[in-house]
Amino acid sequence: MSDIAIQIFGLGKRYRYGGAAPLSTNLRADISDWAKGLFRRNSKGHPTLQQVHEHHLSASPEYFWALKDVSFEVNQGEVIGIIGRNGAGKSTLLKILSRITPPTTGHIEYHGRIASLLEVGTGFHRELTGRENIFLNGSILGMKRAEIARKFDEIVAFAEVEKFIDTPVKFYSSGMYVRLAFAVAAHLEPEILLVDEVLAVGDIEFQRKCIGKMEDVAREGRTVLVVSHSMSTVKALCSKAVLLESGRIKASGAVDGVVAGYVSASKVGAAKTVLTDADHDSGTTNQVRVRSLQLLNAPGNSFTVHWQQPISMVADVEVFEPLRDLVFGASIKTIYDTDILTIHSDIVDSKPQSSWTLEPGRYEIAFKLRNDLRPGSYRLRLGAACLQHLGRSNVLNVNAGTLQVLDFSEQGLTPRPSCTGLVNGYSTWSYERCPHQPKQTS
């Protein structure tokens, strides 16, 4: 018996920019190509339709290679992480492996049955009952009916929907729906499992269940391919990893090395968002506007920082009227709008500072913040207020978008998954044996 589960040779996939071309040109082009092909095929010495087509495709700037010359092998029982930036070709690779879309070049050979989980609940029908959907979804995922019938009770128990099994799923709560869908997928027994991390979009509890299930599958000696953005997930689950960049393999091998390579390859540069009047709260005056906000030390070109990396920002601000006793501020919130922290220009390192007086004109306002946020997405807001003897009046309140904190540091360290919450905790612990011990009976 061979030890190799999947072999991939020179795989390539070409797409057209913006999906299929607009209908009219597409239909017309198709018909004219077809007519030309008929003509060409009849006269010797001319390229065939296929060749004309290939030439047209490779030369045309409308096309791009989502994957190019990808070759690697996966041994039986290995858990492999596929990592890379958005658009690196991870999902395309998964789609070709699960045979949803064919490759443009190259081929793949694999042993045994592949099941792919690109989403849960594929093919669920709202009008059908839970029972009917288990059979429908199971069949779509490639289970035999006898197999589903055998595991039926187990699936229902796992999903905790016993009472509602004969109710149409359109009456289910979203939680029940997702549980049932995941329960079916969790009872697949393929030799090879392909998982896209988009699977783990549910609540924390559900994500943990997904990851736990993947660990079980891996322990049972089956082959698993996981596509993920989360370095900590990949490090926890996988023994090997493949790093894709612009459709090509950048690195592959033991997971630690590949993850470290990915982490160090993320260049640091400025990321900028342009803010419009629509981002400014309507309640504030028109005395001052933020034109754009720059993150000076972003790895990549999005509003992203490493875990534990200080945040360094510059706001491009336009002042229209003279502002006296001005204080700038910023706040970071959870995506559910709970405040995590607020910072102000008149307090630096807990020491009071004087407020500012600004004449009309353009200003660059910079601030730095020590970053103790845990990996995740946060909302960023900027504000300004004029201090007056009666109190403060807000002159600026602007939504500056989302800030992403990666789950690895600049040095490639990852936070421990068991630490939860919004911010990193810094603590010291110790223990000491008490001098008076209860008497023990021997």
Binding site: M1, S2, G12, Y15, G19, A20, L23, N26, L27, K95, I96, L97, S98, R99, I100, T101, P102, P103, T104, T105, G106, H107, I108, E109, Y110, H111, G112, R113, I114, S116, L118, E119, T122, G123, H125, E127, L128, E132, F135, L136, S139, I140, L141, G142, K144, R145, P168, E191
Partner: protein, 273 residues
């Protein structure tokens, strides 16, 4: 013990895989048939009774308008039998044609997320239409018995006529379904196609009323052979074997062309839907 699967850019290799898959996924085919049947009449008060009511109402309306008002000749059959005989097969044909043309689009969420031989979807649609046909056909037999027009030929010729109908609808449904995935124009054209096709088929009028030149070309439309066949069987006269034979041949051609076209487009479906 382990089967080796090959995914390749080469179309010939894919074809071998395709045949193996079609067999592997036979259970999914029945699951889709079951789903389509179950879903169709969910949350309707009358449920399956609709399958009986539809041809009955339509035959009644046709008999009233074309018989009672227009005095259409029927080759000696009573209007009710004349129209029911044609509508049972025509209705299931028309429904299956338009829903198989839409089947790729309607199942786009599945096709872009999971692999199975795409042929299973339109195949299941056509198979589902057989259920409607079986109910309508039973109704036709009951009506023919009651009115004294039942003839053993009706039962004997049904498998052949049903096969012609199935091949035709699958051939066209496959081609239209694959086309509709790319050009949604097809969806709007299909309604029109079904209407024109019905007029081109001797449903409202008897085939014998067509001019001689038109009768010569009737074999191009296999449904003409199907409808004419049922009517001849109900009349108890000799079946038009020449027409049925050539229609059967044409149906095979349509199926072959439709399946070839579908196969050619199948792989691209997930990228264009």
């Amino acid at each position: 013990m382990n089967t080796i699967t090959r995914i390749s850019a080469d179309r010939h290799e894919r074809f071998r895989q395709f045949l193996a898959d079609l067999w592997d996924y036979r259970e999914l085919f029945w699951t889709f048939v079951e789903r389509d049947i179950k879903v169709r009449y969910k949350q309707t008060a009358l449920g399956v009774i609709w399958v009986i009511l539809q041809p009955l109402f339509m035959a009644g309306a046709f008999a009233g308008i074309f018989g009672g008002i227009a005095r259409m000749p029927t080759d000696g059959l009573p209007y009710a039998i004349f129209y029911l005989g044609a509508l049972v097969s025509w209705n299931t044909f028309a429904t299956a044609l338009s829903s198989s043309a839409m089947s790729m689009e309607n199942n786009a969420h599945l096709i872009s997320k999971i692999y199975f031989p795409r042929l299973v979807v339109p195949g299941a649609v056509v198979c589902t239409s057989f259920v409607d046909f079986a109910i309508g056909w039973t109704l036709l037999n009951a009506a023919a018995l009651w009115m004294g027009y039942w003839h053993w030929q009706l039962v004997a010729v049904t498998p052949l006529l049903l096969a012609i109908q199935a091949m035709t609808v699958l051939g066209f449904g496959l081609a239209l379904g694959a086309l509709n995935a790319q050009y949604r124009d097809v969806k709007h054209g299909v309604t029109f196609l079904v209407q024109v096709w019905m007029l081109a088929t001797p449903v409202i009028y008897p085939a014998s009323r067509l001019p001689a030149w038109a009768q010569d070309w009737l074999f191009l439309n296999p449904m003409a052979g199907v409808v004419t066949g049922y009517r001849a069987a109900l009349q108890g006269v000799a079946l038009p074997w020449e027409l049925i034979g050539s229609c059967a041949l044409m149906a095979v051609v349509y199926l072959a062309v439709g399946a070839w076209f579908f196969r050619k487009r199948e792989a691209k479906l997930a990228d264009i839907l």
